[in-house]
């Protein structure tokens, strides 16, 4: 209904845009004059503006007139985590963004996370798209072909703040390149912190101590610990009810695979689900390599022996989280951030649960991990929205709120648990190695080599939490989670490791390849069947042949030709 009123201004802007781009050369000329020098009716008082000059720079300048911005949102199922009196539609972080940028943010709909993408696809299909939204590479391509989104080329350099531009630069240009279609930047690319990919083993030190065991360094160590946890009643309740290694129906998933076997594959020198260049410079697919077969053989053996949860193949993340949260499992494979979720709940239930992170070495004694793509999602602006730059400005302010930069207030002690609910565009453009950098700084401050007063507001709060947990370990699960994730786990990563990642060209080809879903299904099914013994390990060779014949060989050929 509201569309009818927007139609005229939309058409006008589109026409103007066409005219301007038709008769001017450099893209900068197509921009509307920035309102930087004349602060008009905004929610921010003049004295604040004077005291905080950054507010008048391009990346933060308030809109000249209060404008409406319609968004959509998932995550409704977690709304109960919000502080008293706040909601997804109305909270202090959102308010701060609205006031800073002079914009009214409303949500066309808010739904649970698992129905978000269905609902968004429906909105796109019915032509009723929100003003700004987060899309995947396929949707970016489709929306661009349809001319449904704004070309953001003229805005990126001007309105992204220095931090975000620097973060993109640190991906060696991969991020912006991924968002570029026919020479135009059609979306704002995310940058995933690279720390999310390496899967480490989180093991309960209290159980290890009780059984007189050492923390794991290799796959064999993990297996020995898992056996001991199953057989020797580490929780001391006299009942044979503890699990060894947990798993889920996704044995491999890069990055951030909770309860995943990724680290075990990596330890065998296998990098399943990645298209990477081998020593000869050819792009190969990790899932087909002999090392993957070796790792699968080991996993099948462990499954048969009962070291791996016998029902892992039908469990989702929540089901397997229940095992570790309920005190029935002492090993959890996961990324550096699992202390926030789900391990904080384990500590809540049992303050003795002393989870510690360990990295797993490969056969040669090195650390090598499968890495995720730098970029896999994009923020796009609906064609005709009068202020396309607002998307960049919101992301600037969100980044400041996350890290306490540019005087951004720090409202929430449990920010890391609820940021996706607070932010109107839950989207991260991180420094690729921010996690490691912060860990080094915290460590230096603890060692007295760095003055914590120089930290940003957000880091000051976290540093305080870390110190509180060191003084009284596990007395508060939020403090504990910050210490374990930000300091202990991140420091392990900061120690350095080798990376294997999917080639950016290959990633783009896979995203739009029609045979890919069938290939992926074949692989998922085969791997699970081999691990659970429904198929023999030697069927792996038949799988490779079938994968190649079902369009996989052609896919690899296409990648190697580009």
């Amino acid at each position: 209904m509201g569309d009818r009123f927007l139609l005229k201004p939309m058409l006008l802007v589109m026409l103007l845009g066409l005219l301007l781009s038709a008769c001017t050369g450099p893209p900068q000329a197509a921009q509307p004059a920035a309102p930087a020098d004349q602060p008009t009716a905004t929610a921010v008082p003049a004295d604040v503006l004077a005291a905080q000059p950054w507010r008048l720079t391009d990346p933060y300048s308030p809109l000249p007139e209060r404008a409406r911005l319609v968004l959509v949102k998932g995550g409704q199922e977690n709304a109960s985590l919000m502080p008293e009196g706040e909601s997804i539609e109305d909270n202090r972080a959102l308010q701060y963004i609205e006031d800073t940028l002079n914009v009214d943010i409303t949500f066309a709909w808010v739904v649970p996370s698992d129905s978000f993408s269905d609902k968004l696809n429906l909105s796109i299909a019915s032509g009723d798209i929100p003003d700004v939204m987060i899309v995947d590479p396929i949707q970016l391509q489709q929306l661009t072909e349809a001319g449904a989104i704004e070309d953001l080329t003229p805005y990126i350099e001007k309105y992204a703040n220095a931090d975000i531009l620097e973060n993109w630069a640190q991906t060696e240009g991969v991020a912006l390149q991924a968002a570029t279609i026919d020479g135009k930047i059609m979306g704002i690319p995310n940058v995933q912190p690279q720390a999310d990919a390496p899967i480490m083993a989180w093991v309960r030190q209290d159980w290890l101590d009780k059984l007189g065991l050492q923390g794991p360094q290799t796959v064999d160590d993990i297996v020995a610990i898992a056996r001991a946890f199953i057989e020797q009643d580490p929780d001391g309740n006299g009942v044979n009810d503890t699990y060894g290694l947990t798993g889920t129906l996704n044995p491999v998933q890069v990055p951030s695979n909770l309860h995943g076997f990724d680290a075990i594959f990596n330890a065998y020198g296998a990098f399943p689900e990645l298209f990477y260049r081998n020593a000869e410079g050819q792009i190969i697919y990790g899932s087909l390599q002999p090392e993957t077969k070796e790792a699968l053989a080991r996993l099948a053996e462990l499954y048969k022996e009962g070291v791996i949860d016998p029902e892992f193949a039908t469990k989702n993340t929540d089901k397997s989280n229940e095992i570790v949260v309920g005190g029935r499992g002492g090993i959890m494979m996961g990324p550096w951030w699992v202390p926030w979720w789900p391990l904080a709940d384990s500590v809540n239930n049992d303050p003795n649960a002393d989870w510690q992170p360990f990295l797993i070495k490969d056969k040669n004694g090195n650390y090598t991990f499968s890495m995720g793509d730098y970029t896999y999602s994009f923020v796009v602006v609906k064609k005709g929205y009068p202020h396309p730059e607002i998307a960049l400005k919101i992301l600037n302010v969100q980044n400041d709120l996350s890290y306490g930069l540019n005087d951004a207030p720090q409202y929430y002690p449990n920010f890391n648990e609820i940021w996706t609910l607070l932010f109107p565009i839950p989207f991260l453009i991180e420094q690729p190695y921010v996690v490691e950098r912060m860990a080094r700084e915290y460590k230096a401050a603890l060692d007295g080599e760095l003055d914590p007063a120089t930290f940003s507001e957000a880091m000051k709060i976290e540093f305080d939490q870390i110190q509180q947990d060191i003084a009284a370990p596990r007395s508060d699960s939020s403090n504990w989670a910050v210490r374990m994730a930000r300091l202990d786990a991140a420091l392990l990563l900061a120690g350095g490791y080798d990376e294997v990642r999917t080639d950016p060209t290959a990633a783009r080809i896979v995203a739009s390849d029609p045979t890919w879903p069938a290939l992926k299904k074949l692989e998922e099914e085969t791997f699970l069947q081999i691990i659970t013994g429904a198929r023999s390990v030697d069927d792996f060779d038949a799988f490779v042949t079938e994968w190649n014949n079902s369009g996989g060989a052609a896919l690899l050929e296409k990648m190697n030709q580009e």
Binding site: N121, I124, E145, A146, E525, S550
Partner: protein, 296 residues
């Protein structure tokens, strides 16, 4: 027979059903054209480029498509056969129970699951079929198991089939119970005079008496051979049982809605629609021939 005003009232009563049928069954048929396009949701049906039979041909080249088609037919057929047999056997047995109150309460209990949704039942099934669940505990008494009911490709379809039988047989049995009450009681009296026992009465009176209904229900269900039950399977399956548990409907859902391949998903769905249309023709013909059932 009816007055015209009565007739109007009856038509008014079926109107909401017709509207829903039209909106959710006939309107979507027109959108099947995207099976012949490289559909881009942002461009819509009018704007998306046409690709002829590419999607259909690609579908037939997929190993998945054949497997999924087989799974669908297998699961649906087995469900039909077992639900029918169980329902008939149950109706015959219940018919022999002489205490009306016992009969009523048993009947109510067995058709209760029919009214529960698969979302709830799947949760219950997952719990009782788990490794440390009721069923495995029971089997352990006999030294069997534990069996991984939901994670073994060769067992999974049977879990689907028998859980569906358990859910639906009580409700199906109502039809046969009704048919049994329609049998002329004097036939039983005569048989008793001739010295027939209970089994002989069942064999020579009850079963022949409801045979036309069995044939009719059997013929009409041919049209459902491609409906293996999306709700049920979607809530119980996982990648490990794709090889035997993935059916056309779950496949279309994953390919079309999750992976965004709308055209391929629609092509598979359209194929199902075409085959189902043929099957319904067969079922109508068979119902007319063997059970003398005609609509027109």
């Amino acid at each position: 027979m009816f007055k015209d005003t009565d007739r109007l009232a009856y038509y008014a009563m079926i109107l909401p059903g017709l509207v829903l049928l039209f909106a959710f069954t006939f309107v979507p048929l027109f959108y099947s054209v995207i099976a012949f396009q490289r559909f881009n949701p942002a461009l819509g049906i009018q704007g998306s480029p046409w690709v002829g039979l590419d999607n259909i041909l690609y579908m037939f080249s997929l190993r998945d498509a054949r497997q999924v088609f087989f799974n669908t037919v297998f699961i649906a057929t087995m469900k039909m056969i077992f639900v029918l047999l169980t329902a008939v056997a149950f109706a015959l047995l219940l018919n022999e129970v002489r205490f009306l109150r016992v009969r009523r309460s048993i009947q109510t209990m067995v058709y209760l699951p029919h009214f529960l949704s698969w979302v709830i039942l799947a949760g219950i099934l997952r719990t009782i079929l788990a490794r440390d669940g009721m069923v495995n505990d029971f089997l352990a008494l006999f030294g069997i198991g534990p069996i991984y009911f939901l994670g073994q490709p060769n067992i999974f379809p049977w879990v689907i089939i028998f859980s569906d039988v358990w859910k639906e047989f009580g409700f199906e049995a109502i039809v046969y119970l009704a048919a049994l009450t329609a049998i002329d009681p004097t036939l039983y009296e005569v048989a008793e005079l001739d010295g027939a026992n209970r089994f002989q009465k069942m064999r020579f009176i009850s079963i022949p008496g409801i045979a036309p209904v069995i044939v009719l229900v059997g013929c009409l269900s041919i049209g459902n051979v491609l409906n293996a039950g999306f709700d049920q399977i979607f809530n119980l399956y996982s990648p490990i049982v794709y090889s035997t548990g993935d059916i056309i409907d779950t496949y279309v859902y994953r390919i079309g809605l999750i992976q965004g391949q709308y055209s391929l998903g629609t092509a598979v769905g359209l194929f199902k629609t075409v085959v189902a249309l043929l099957l319904i023709g067969v079922s109508y013909w068979a119902a007319g021939k063997y059970a003398n059932y005609r609509i027109f």
